[in-house]
Amino acid sequence: MSSKIWIVARREYLSRVQKKSFILVTLLTPLGIALFSVVIGFIMNAGSKSDQRVVIKDDTGIIQQIAAEDKNFPYDFSTKDLSVLKEDYSSLGYDLFVYVPAMRDSSTMRLAASYYSTEKPSLMILESIESKLSDQIETYRMRKSNIDQKLLDSFRADVSLENGAMDPNDPGSSAAAGKLNIIIGTALGGLMGFMMYLVIFIYGSMVMRSVMEEKLSRIVEVMVSSVRPIQLMMGKLIGVGGVGLTQLAIWAVLIPILLLIVAAFLPGVEPSQLANMKSGIEIDPQAVEDFSGQEVIAAIFNLKWWLILPVFIIFFLGGYFIYSSLFAAMGSAISEDMGEGQQLMMPIVIVVLIAFYMLFPVLSNPNGNLAVFASLFPLFSPIIMPARLAFDPPWWQIVLSIIIMLTTVWFFIWLTSRIYRVGILMYGKKVTIREMIKWLRYSE
């Protein structure tokens, strides 16, 4: 009885895993990601370094005076005539010319400087120039008021928030590491949520296509004489799910290795940085730069992998079964081509997209009300709960979420198998979702 499910699952699994295309995709994807990260690394490096040359004509006299003491001040000064500079700054080798007029009043707040540039400068460089100019003037004014640098420094305060519950004896639990954990958690959460989203579509549509092909080529007609439709469907779901797990397992080994290799050969490209990119969560680059690579790696190793990995796999399987059983039901209802399928897929796609976009608010507030709701609601939880795992969600939420999800898996398989068994033997007419609901009531 159930051994037939395994016979079907075995065929579904082996026929896919032995395909050349599977082997290629499985091996080339990590390579592709590594390559992608190299390219992104170059782009980000190129973008962050300002190679724009700036020349300043300073009529206040203050800026140049103070800046002369700062070896890191990135801009040049010129004393040439304003009209000359306006004309010739680019022939002198500069991209941008900034003119700071003299101050009418030495205590004035606002100072309007103007820039000249052949090309439109980026907002970033303008802001950077503004803040550097302001800094010089502020420093000058403080000196003029005879405020001693030491006194000034003694005014400074740096409040840093630490996790009060952290073990002070744990070397990895400095204040910085606490923040680092959040950054890494966000990155990891984004990555996991994104992967679940991909998994649902990749393997879901794999199931759907294969159900459709079996129906249209009339293979099911032969199959249902020896296997019950639910066994056929379950076998397929298990087989394709196994393919997914295999692929993930290979990627889980290959991708980190390749990324470490990339990171070793390309300074300035951090795996965590890439994760940020993928999850689309903006993290202040300054915040990441504050940590050394070793700290990052230590923090990654400090995550509760013994919890995160198994729970992730449970949610992977739960999400896979919920959605791919729906895809199987849709595939069974198709009677001509994939075009018909797109229409039937729409409602599923919308739900998955909602869950995916919930990732962003959830990751910025991983234990908020929305996060708790979305990680319990079974259509969202396979995407949302894995994303929260790195933020230590309460135990009861994980357990409750799994219970609700597994119940839903059971319910969906029951529901979709009732649609499937009618759909696979029904030809000719286009099927609407309303009609599929009627199939639920058909007697066996």
């Binding site: 026929s15 080529s217 009339r218 249902v224 020896s226 009627k438």
Partner: protein
């Protein structure tokens, strides 16, 4: 005891009655023909027998027991619309289907090879299904249907797309199985095969059972008392005693004799008229003719 008995089986789909109180019985070691035009309800009936769907009302008995989900493992069903996985190898595919019928891997391997050999196809073992011709694929499907030694074989149009040689090969196999005691439910709309192969038939149209019985008995039941005579010389110019000349071509004449009359009268009359009789036989209607007249008769009502 019959292998299969249907008792007033009815199946209704939302907009129409697919099977309407169909009853019949299949005896062990016989070939039972199920005839009907397209859409008559043959496939729906078969799906009920193979427990793919259930009847809305009526009973099905398999070897005297109420039909249940364990019984299909003793049946072999070759559906009319049938496909195979194109990318699979023939041997692998047969093993897969045989294992799904409940055979262990070793058993399946042994039996599939014996079967392929009998169908002169053992060298296909490592070929992909897509490399085979349609007829070859049919053979593979037939093998998959009988590989687990079913006691009831359900064949839905088993000969479509086969050349005469392969057709004969499969027909011989069907006879061989029948002689071994296997019962065969043979669904088709090709009548000449029915006459050749079946002992008993049922004719269904629009879900209803319109005719059932022994093939010979049915042909007798619908006979029109027609006799064909080949002769030398000339026929008499007029006939007495209710004899009617239906056709006369090239020294072969067809007569209809009155219901209560016997062929002897016709012979005596012809011999008395002086023509020389070379052969004489009764013309029974073919199943095809009966089928058409019955189906038309029903649809004209």
């Amino acid at each position: 005891m019959s292998i299969l008995r249907l008792d007033k089986v009815t199946k209704r789909y939302r907009d129409h009655l697919a099977v309407d109180e169909v009853s019949f019985e299949v005896q062990p070691g016989t070939i039972f023909g199920m005839l009907g035009p397209n859409g008559a309800g043959k496939t729906s009936t078969i799906r009920i027998i193979t427990t793919i769907t259930g009847p809305d009302s009526g009973q099905v008995y398999f070897r005297g027991e109420h039909l249940n989900k364990t019984h299909p493992s003793q049946m072999g069903y070759l559906p009319e619309e049938r496909g195979l996985y194109k990318k699979m190898k023939v041997g692998e595919h047969l093993l897969y289907l045989a294992q799904l019928k409940g055979l262990s891997r070793q058993e399946a391997d042994k039996k599939c090879k014996i079967m392929l050999d009998r169908f002169e196809a053992l060298e296909w073992w490592n070929k992909k299904v897509e490399e085979l011709s349609k007829g070859m694929q049919q053979k593979i499907q037939f093998i998959a249907t009988i590989v687990h030694d079913p006691v009831l074989l359900i064949l839905d149009e088993p000969f479509t797309g086969l050349d005469p040689i392969n057709s004969n090969m499969i027909q011989d196999e069907i006879f061989r199985l029948r002689d071994k005691g296997v019962s065969i439910l043979f669904s088709t709309h090709r009548m000449e095969q029915v006459e050749e192969m079946c002992e008993n038939i049922i004719l269904i149209n629009k879900g209803k059972n319109i005719l059932m019985g022994n093939v010979k008995e049915i042909r007798n039941r619908f006979k029109e008392h027609l006799f064909q005579v080949s002769y030398k010389g000339d026929l008499p110019s007029s006939f007495s005693g209710g004899l009617e000349l239906v056709r006369n071509e090239d020294h072969t004449a067809t007569f209809r004799i009155p219901d209560q009359d016997t062929p002897n009268h016709l012979l005596q009359f012809l011999m008395g008229s002086g023509c020389e009789i070379q052969s004489f036989h009764e013309i029974l209607p073919t199943i095809n003719e009966i089928f058409i007249s019955q189906v038309k008769g029903i649809s004209h009502e």
